[in-house]
Symmetry: C2
Subunit: 491 residues, 2 copies
Amino acid sequence: MRIPLEREPGRAEGPVYRQIAAHIRTEVEGERLAPGSRLPPIRELAAELGVHRDTVALAYESLAEEGVVESAVGRGTFVRGGRDGDVAHGPPALSALVERLLDFERARPRFGSAEDAVPMHALVPDPALYPADAFRRVLNRVLADGGAELLRYGGPQGHQGLRAVLAGRLRRASTRVEADELVLCHGASQGISLALRLFTEPGDVVAVEDPTYNNALAATLGLGLRTAPVPMRDDGLDLAALERTLERPEVKLLYTIPTFHNPMGTTTSLAHRRRLLAIAERCGKPVIEDAFESDLRFDGRGVPTLAALDRSGHVIHLYSFSKSLFPGARVGAILARGRLVDGLLALKQATDLSDSIPLQAALAAFVDGGHYDRHLGRLRKTLRARRDAVLASLEVEMPRGTTWTTPQGGFQVWVALPEGIDTSDLLADAVGAGVLFAPGSQFHHDGRSSRALRLSIALADEAALRRGVAALARVVRARMGDAPRPERVHV
Amino acid sequence: MRIPLEREPGRAEGPVYRQIAAHIRTEVEGERLAPGSRLPPIRELAAELGVHRDTVALAYESLAEEGVVESAVGRGTFVRGGRDGDVAHGPPALSALVERLLDFERARPRFGSAEDAVPMHALVPDPALYPADAFRRVLNRVLADGGAELLRYGGPQGHQGLRAVLAGRLRRASTRVEADELVLCHGASQGISLALRLFTEPGDVVAVEDPTYNNALAATLGLGLRTAPVPMRDDGLDLAALERTLERPEVKLLYTIPTFHNPMGTTTSLAHRRRLLAIAERCGKPVIEDAFESDLRFDGRGVPTLAALDRSGHVIHLYSFSKSLFPGARVGAILARGRLVDGLLALKQATDLSDSIPLQAALAAFVDGGHYDRHLGRLRKTLRARRDAVLASLEVEMPRGTTWTTPQGGFQVWVALPEGIDTSDLLADAVGAGVLFAPGSQFHHDGRSSRALRLSIALADEAALRRGVAALARVVRARMGDAPRPERVHV
């Protein structure tokens, strides 16, 4: 919910809570907020608007007194019923599954009112680093050469040339793979959806890392799947807990990010990977290996992927250009074996027939012409300098009791603040102080509060990253200095 | 299954059935066909290879005698079990839902061995008509102007400029719509998936036309939905049957193609649309209106879309550039109202985050610059001449008892042959005679045999279309002259 707020007392139309209430009242009266629809949870709206939770609570209370909304214990605050009861002529209801997905989406922090803040919240690569012009020229040449034939339906497997180029790269990284074992897709994100659907029926359970990538949680929710969280340690998944989880018959697969974990930034050892694979094989459960940042190693030696170690066809490996080049081509790839490829093709066909071939053909030529590797060389250097800047600033700025990971690649550093701080709560303060981060709660399947947060080095340069960490340290110290405030109770 | 066949007796390595058996044996020995996997049904493999069903049956029988495969009554023919029983180390099993989807896909006719035949089977627009060069120039300019910003994540709703352009076009066609009521997607095909998911949970039932678009049937199957078929009449859905179906509580929505129906080519009247909408509203069930060929009217007056007549927000309208321009941009749009837009955005985000913005931005400029309308003018003229050629040929060539529809737009003509002919059976003969068509069975939810077939004018020019119809007439007459042959029984 975007609510324009005027915070300067001289120009404002009343206190902030009244501005919020007035905006919501207007939305309800204008029927843009339908009867029965749920208002954002107080915590989330407060974070989004950069105001204290009490301010939002006050706004909701005054709306409830007016009869515009009503609260239901444990469920939230809802717009009160409409004027007529003729439900058959109202708009059709969304499925309960979509309603749950909307609730999940609504809980994401939004950063609308913070344009000047240092953007350390998102894993969106920096447009200043995209080789946009080189890509444009290659695309133009490919289209000039290929003409109309490139604009037909491409078939669900995607451009053969790009699959061959990718297979070659994967083989050089010691993963045995042929071009026909790759299915191109719409970023690794579509790869997650398709791979989940390959092995599950709605109602099934999938094992996920806790914490894990929030859009993978959204994908499971949207498919009607439940999640079985397995705790993450500093060196990767707790393997004893993983084994207990995968032994449960209703758990159908594991989704894991062994390299440059999201949100933790950690990479598992070869020994850990071997043990994980042995467990999965023994339980007969497939493993979705999300390798979305695998081309972004800037430090240390590469560890063989699960797909490279897999001898039994249990691993589905997801590759993406979205982080290492740019997201706008929407090209990722799924590596799978044998009949799994047939299943993926049938699902892709039933979902959207095929992807756009010109972009895939252009990527093939772009990689083949050496442009991609030249870009990777520059990008890795930049990211290494950025990571060093963030780690150095954390060392200098953060209060005692703060810990963080040291990623060897990718964008994300996972920071655990001293005990007692809820990073969702802290976000509004941080936005005000000029830095954005991703609070840890959004990476937990149950959205529980967390003293951890994810910092991203994707979008900001070194100077900005230093400013961002300094701002973060200021709000943490301020929060630690606060006397504990009693929670107001809202029903 | 692609099996290279040598049909010239002098060069062949034995009769065709032995070539088929040898190929399958090699696949099993090379472990490309895994133990337990199901061979294609006899009818489908025969159609795919352009051979008689007896030939395939003979091949399967000889493989069964060798112990390579085994048949299970009513279930099909399967590769016999592997050498070791250690199932835990075999590749992971696909979900039952994906297995059903693979069965469905396997039943599609394949046309691999028929390169010289007139292609009247597919709704793929003719690449000879694509304005590929004009589009390339616009895309190149848009990327040069927009640069790296166009290559970021686009957000789940898609390019604002293209949404504004499309909303303007829809308004001129009398559908009241704002740009923020459109969600861009990956062709109308992805639109079908997303719209189905908006209102259903797995296990729910969706009302579909019988016959209907086969990929819509695949989409429902892939989502774990069941279908309630409603009979199509010459003037559209049987509305009494529709009402009985939509009254069932487990039926959650209707999927319909009122304009240039696929596969029938028919368009419903304004009165029929009004009655259909009134039924849907009374039952409180949303309607997915697939308008995938709506820009391809070349004859008669346009009828307002269901979306234009909808006053209660029950209609989800799907638009596509895939047939009217080319499929390769993979751009379609979903028109929805109010909270349905929120639901679609959450689903799109959970499925693949966003589409590729450069292609959408280029399409916006292409339409805005008048290129699209100029292309449509040429295309409609061409399609009208092609339709006239097909209808004239049908009149001259086909035996008495054949009937067909007269489309006012789009690519498809629906032909019903005289009683007693199964068009799935006829396909192998037709391939041999030099024409491809889509047999009616593939448009029925249950794949039942049909004496109807769909002819497409999308890909072949007038002379080829006349040859194609003449070839079709020849095989129909030959079949009608045949004495009825006793079916061989295969268990």
